[in-house]
């Protein structure tokens, strides 16, 4: 599903964020991306979304080499990847329902399908009774559920989460992880960058550790492995 072939990324300021990285993430995998701050996790994710381009090497997403992907094709790529961020990124002036429906309108889905799918996804993330509320009326965990709902509404094969539990307490974090695991069980490939030791150790999934832009560890059922 995701392949990195000799990928390097050097920013304009000279920082080498990713150095000669080789990775293969298969369909249906659940992968933790760990490593110290500044290791290059977010850069890696940005290259998958084509927000940044690699300086050399090839990035393959869903059997498509996106390294030379035309600008016009980028939206198509992004529709294959649901994204969740630490800061939720919800629209404050739209209700829960509208925030999720928004992602479907953008992909020009028929109104009938929108009306059918939004309640379905809301019940998956356990917010069926909160659809009329605004983001500032929700707890952090609930907001993150909305943003997960939005990420999966178009049924993307890949779900990427960059520190999704970074702003949540341990209890809420565990619930979010349950939800991500549930989504993964339905066949979605999940890639999650995190600093959350407790969660990584608890979930016993594949762990890829990055340091200074290089993969230093890649094990199934792995541990977080850092002290922080």
């Amino acid at each position: 599903m995701i392949k990195m072939l000799n990928v390097s990324k050097k920013y304009n300021n000279g920082v080498i964020a990713v150095a000669n990285m080789n990775l293969n993430i298969k369909r249906g995998d659940f992968v933790f991306l760990v490593g110290p701050s500044g290791a290059g996790k977010s850069t890696f994710i940005k290259m998958l979304l084509k927000e940044e381009n690699p300086t050399s090497g090839h990035v393959v997403v869903d059997d498509l080499d996106i390294t030379k992907l035309h600008r016009r094709k980028v939206p198509e790529l992004r529709r294959k990847i649901g994204v969740v961020f630490q800061d939720f990124r919800l629209l404050p002036n739209k209700t829960v329902y509208e925030n999720i429906a928004f992602a479907m309108e953008i992909t020009e889905t028929k109104p009938r399908d929108i009306r059918k799918h939004v309640p379905m996804v809301l019940s998956i993330v356990g917010l069926a009774d909160k659809q009329k509320m605004y983001p500032d009326q929700l707890s952090g965990g609930e907001q993150q559920r909305v943003s997960i709902a939005r990420a999966i509404i178009n049924n993307p094969p890949i779900l990427i989460a960059d520190e999704p539990t970074g702003n949540l307490d341990p209890e809420t974090s565990r619930e979010i992880m349950k939800l991500l695991l549930q989504i993964n069980r339905r066949g979605t490939t999940v890639l999650m960058a995190t600093h959350d030791k407790e969660i990584v150790d608890l979930m016993k999934q594949r762990v890829i550790a990055i340091e200074k832009g290089r993969v230093v560890r890649d094990e199934l059922g792995g541990k977080y492995g850092y002290a922080d």
């Binding site: 927000e51 992004r78 990124r89 629209l91 928004f102 309108e105 953008i106 992909t107 009306r115």
Partner: protein, 298 residues
């Protein structure tokens, strides 16, 4: 709850314009000011062109005055030579007696003054009606060399001056237009930039969910075009009333003289509105596209 409908977009658009009303008013006024000046130039050019056309039609004759001592044979000979020249449509002879009669009529009540003359001071003359005004110079030069010609009169300078003035107005007008359009495009682009900036979160999210660039541009483009169109409406109203007022004033002052060549307000306003709508929405679209370039580049 459908968000992506046209009605919804229009509503959102006006809501956003209202939220930024200071900038919106500035944008609309700048477009309107641009279009008003543009309209004045347009109205001037159209009217002058119409007048030039009339003038060309009136001055498409050459007066050829003949020597008084030229015999009838000589007069006829000149007449036949002239009709054969290229660009000549017709040659009309006017005997000195006819010319005097005409003058008496022209002088009207004072015509009796001419009765006191001992001899007729007016010459025999030919009036050449031109087929094509471009041959005028050639014809004048040729005829001047004939024997028995006293004077050749042609209102060439009048026409050339009119053409020159029209040309200057056109060129200066075009230059002013380009500058004004650039200024209002810049002002609109700043207004839209503020709108884009206040909605950069939304744009960012749209990009992550895979919205195409045109999908993201849509609402901002609409805002720009609406600003341009509001400016166009405002300026159309101003031009209509200003023109109507000036037209009536000129009519009263000069009566039939110039006003016969002026184009009526009702006629000109159609072209003005059409022109304004096109240019106004063009400025709006251009302004918003210019301001969006930076934000869409991810």
């Amino acid at each position: 709850m459908r968000i992506n409908s046209f009605g919804y977009n229009i509503k959102e658009c006006f809501k956003n314009l209202w939220r930024n009303r200071m900038m919106s008013v500035a944008s609309i006024s700048s477009v309107a000011a641009t279009l008003v000046i543009l309209g004045i130039i347009f109205v001037l050019i159209v009217n002058i062109s119409a007048m030039t056309q009339v003038a060309k039609d009136q001055f498409d004759t050459i007066q050829v005055y003949l020597d008084d001592d030229l015999a009838i044979d000589g007069i006829e000979e000149i007449g036949t030579k002239m009709i054969q020249l290229q660009g000549v449509q017709d040659v009309i002879f006017e005997a000195k007696e006819e010319a005097l009669e005409k003058m008496k009529l022209d002088w009207d009540q004072n015509g009796y003054l001419l009765d006191g003359l001992e001899s007729n001071p007016l010459p025999n003359s030919y009036i050449i009606v031109l087929d094509d005004i471009n041959y005028a110079n050639y014809i004048v030069n040729t005829i001047q060399d004939y024997d028995g010609i006293e004077e050749v009169k042609y209102y060439q300078e009048v026409i050339e001056n009119i053409i020159k003035i029209t040309d200057v107005i056109r060129k200066v007008g075009l230059m002013i237009m380009v500058i004004l359009i650039a200024i209002s495009t810049f002002i609109i682009s700043n207004t839209i930039k503020i709108a884009v900036h206040s909605r950069r979160r939304e744009i960012n999210i749209m990009k992550y969910v895979g919205a195409t660039n045109w999908f993201i541009r849509g609402p901002f483009l609409l805002e720009g075009v609406v600003l341009g169109l509001l400016g166009a409406i405002l300026s159309s109203v101003v031009i209509y009333f200003a023109y109507k007022y000036s037209y009536d004033a000129i009519m009263e002052q000069f009566y039939m003289f110039i006003s016969a060549y002026l184009i009526r307000a009702q006629v000109i306003i159609k072209d003005v509105v059409f022109l304004f709508v096109i240019i106004g929405s063009g400025i709006g679209a251009l302004g918003s596209l210019a301001s969006l370039r930076k934000y869409l580049d991810v």
